[in-house]
């Protein structure tokens, strides 16, 4: 099976052709701007829409941090990502660890499943 280039639109579904840019390297490279702008914008909006019921860790004294959930999401997912390699050593085994029970690989003919 040959891997097409990211901008190759031949054999694409007609409805997907207008969205071909989503598969380009440039889009992938620049995608980070979407969450970055979203992060900053919603953090800013947090000043105008403060938490009605902030958790104790969302406050510094009586001041509720306006970007608390944005920071929380960023740090917590980063923590998961950093911990994953450690757990990988504990829990990840080669395929076939349970003989005869491996899940199916991709078909080479791209036909339909029975």
């Amino acid at each position: 099976m040959t891997t097409p280039t990211s901008t190759d639109t031949t054999e694409m579904h007609p409805a997907a052709k207008k969205l071909a840019f989503l598969g380009s390297d440039k889009t992938r490279r620049n995608f980070i701007w979407v969450p970055l702008v979203g992060f900053l914008l919603t953090s800013f909006l947090g000043i105008f829409f403060p938490q009605k019921y902030p958790a104790p860790w969302e406050k510094i004294g009586d001041f509720a941090i306006p970007a608390s959930w944005a920071i929380f999401g960023l740090i917590m997912f980063a923590a998961v990502a950093f911990l994953t390699p450690f757990f990988s050593k504990l829990f990840v085994k080669p395929e076939g660890f349970y003989p005869g029970e491996s899940l199916p690989d991709a078909r080479s003919d791209q036909g339909e499943a029975s």
Partner: protein, 574 residues
């Protein structure tokens, strides 16, 4: 004259399943598969008029069974299961399988009948029927699913046996009353019931059957399995153990532990099975909190989860139908071939991620709100962490790796029309129940308790988006610098390694040791017998030493000595 409205509507779906098992004509079976859940839903609608309904009473050996109870709690699950059965039926239209059609109907019917059961014995019957009917959906996955199916069946039947034992113990202490209502942990038999329900609900260390069987079932089988069993157990817990503090902490563990496993998992269907486990944790926390708003949150989140998670399973199933695999390491760039499936998958992911205007936004927040109102900040923080982590490891990763990741060169057809219709229906429901102008209020009107909660407050919308963008930013940044683990072919071991690998290894070792020990014992016994025989033969045979010429006094002395010993023994014995 039998009043048909006294009969549990789930039984009609089971009957449709029995008929489907006898009908060889595919088209007839498909009509049954799609229409039977709708008919059951219509019957429930006609029976229930916002007042509690108790019907279908049967006396068996002095025990009164209430086979039909529709109230404000069971109605949510009953409608939901009918809806899920209908959508699943459409999704399975392409599959020409008598076994799938018949067992899917029986399984759906048993789940509907189970949540409408008014007593513990009726509950037990349908509890077991869900297990027995659904195992065929696992086995339809192929040869590699056979042993997983056996394990699934054993665990599910064990759950049923514990349920029965708990029910009998509880009823015995309750004057023989099997009514299924609030039980609480202090009641006799309650722990048996809790463990039975915990097995099906995926409590920690009782959860492994889910990740073992769901990825191995057939494509349609996984979608159907994901809809009922665990949510049926959540209903039972909500009925029997609301406000049980222990459940809050069990739920917290359930929210947390699947995160790492989902992050490591390469198979998308198994990843989603871990995601189910985490979402079940939110529901179990809600049951543990037990306030009216929390129970509303549980019921609402079950509704959103069945539809949204079903949508994700359906989209991953459609990909598997076309490519043959659900492994993230072998997929990527499929939006070019399957754009509609990609879009629908994103709706499912957004719904689970609780993005504003998507399903779980209006349901999960009810549980969060209940935790806030009761000052449970630790469970609240754990739920927030669980939401953030699952956004990254499932709701971003599954669509990204499958549809938008590195193009693996799969050029396949779009999903079959029936799959697209089923997924579109689920997507429309996901969007409708979160719609701020009438959508969520319709869902809330179906919930067990009246509520004036409004999820669309400025702070809730802003902070929910904050969480989403925070996780997305971390994901995009870490991916860019290469710190997100690459998807690769692997087997992630869970606690079931204890019996699938270590237990099996121990059994093989013990069997070998027993065989070896047995052989050694036999050899030692044979050698000993031969040695004693040889010695006796040497002494007493005609050619033996005692038969040879010896001093005449020696035999006489020996005989006298033996006689003396005998007399002494006889004397002492007296």
């Amino acid at each position: 004259m039998i009043d048909l409205l006294q009969i549990n509507p789930g039984l009609w779906v089971i009957l449709a399943g029995i008929i489907a098992a006898l009908v060889p004509v595919n088209a007839v079976r498909k009509v049954l598969v799609v229409l039977a859940p709708l008919v059951a839903g219509a019957l429930i609608f006609s029976i229930y008029d916002s007042q509690k309904v108790l019907a279908g009473q049967i006396d068996i050996y002095g025990i009164t069974l209430t086979t039909l109870r529709i109230d404000n709690l069971s109605i949510v699950w009953a409608y939901l299961f009918c809806l899920a059965g209908f959508i699943n039926g459409i999704y399975a239209l392409h599959e020409r399988s008598l076994v799938t059609d018949a067992t899917a109907l029986m399984y759906t019917g048993a789940a509907i009948a189970g949540v409408l059961a008014g007593d513990l014995l009726t509950l037990f019957v349908f509890w077991e029927l869900t297990a027995i009917a659904s195992v065929f959906l696992v086995w339809r996955g192929g040869d590699h699913a056979y042993t997983a199916g056996i394990r699934y069946l054993v665990i599910q039947v064990l759950s049923g046996v514990l349920l029965l034992a708990g029910a009998v113990t509880y009823a015995a202490s309750n004057g023989g009353d099997f009514t299924f209502g609030y039980i609480g942990l202090d009641a006799p038999g309650a722990w048996l019931l809790l463990i039975a329900m915990g097995i099906k609900a995926g409590f920690p260390f009782l959860h492994m059957w889910m990740q073992d069987s769901y990825p191995k079932a057939s494509i349609t089988g996984t979608v159907i399995l994901a809809s009922f069993t665990t949510k049926f157990a959540i209903y039972a817990l909500a009925r029997a153990f609301p406000g049980t503090d222990l459940l809050i902490w069990i739920g917290c563990i359930m929210v947390l532990f699947p995160i790492i496993f989902a992050a490591l998992e390469n198979d998308n269907r198994r990843n989603l099975a871990y995601s189910i486990n985490s979402q079940l944790g939110f529901m179990v926390i809600g049951i543990g909190i037990g306030t009216t708003i929390a129970i509303n949150g549980v019921a609402g989140h079950v509704f959103a989860n069945v539809i949204a998670k079903g949508l994700l399973f359906m989209s991953v199933g459609a990909v598997m139908y076309r490519t043959g695999t659900a492994k993230a390491s072998e997929l990527g760039g499929l939006f070019k071939s399957m754009p509609y499936t990609s879009a629908l998958c994103l709706v499912g992911a957004g719904s689970l991620a609780a993005v504003p205007l998507f399903a779980a936004f209006v349901t999960k927040s009810l549980i969060f709100y209940a935790a806030i109102k009761t000052g449970l900040w630790v469970p609240f923080t754990i739920m927030l962490f669980g939401t953030a982590a699952m956004i990254g490891v499932t709701e971003i990763r599954v669509p990204l790796s499958t549809f938008f990741g590195q193009d693996r060169g799969h050029r396949v057809k779009e999903a079959p029309w029936n799959m697209l219709v089923a997924m579109s229906l689920a997507a429309v429901i996901c969007l409708f129940i979160a719609w701020p102008f009438g959508g969520y209020s319709l869902l809330y009107s179906l919930l067990p308790n009246p509520t004036d909660y409004n999820p669309y407050t400025g702070d809730h919308v802003v902070f929910q988006f904050q969480l989403l963008f925070g996780v997305m930013l971390a994901y995009a940044f870490l991916k860019r610098i290469g710190l997100i683990r690459q998807d690769r072919k692997a087997e992630v071991i869970d606690a079931d390694v204890i019996y699938r690998r270590w237990g099996k290894g121990f059994a093989i070792w013990a069997d070998a040791m027993w065989s070896r020990l047995g052989a050694n014992v036999l050899r030692w016994r044979a050698t000993s017998q031969a040695s004693i025989g040889r010695k006796l033969s040497q002494a007493f045979s005609p050619a033996g030493s005692l038969s040879q010429a010896a001093p005449s006094g020696l035999p006489a002395v020996l005989t006298a000595g033996l006689l003396l010993l005998f007399l002494l023994f006889a004397y002492v014995a007296q």
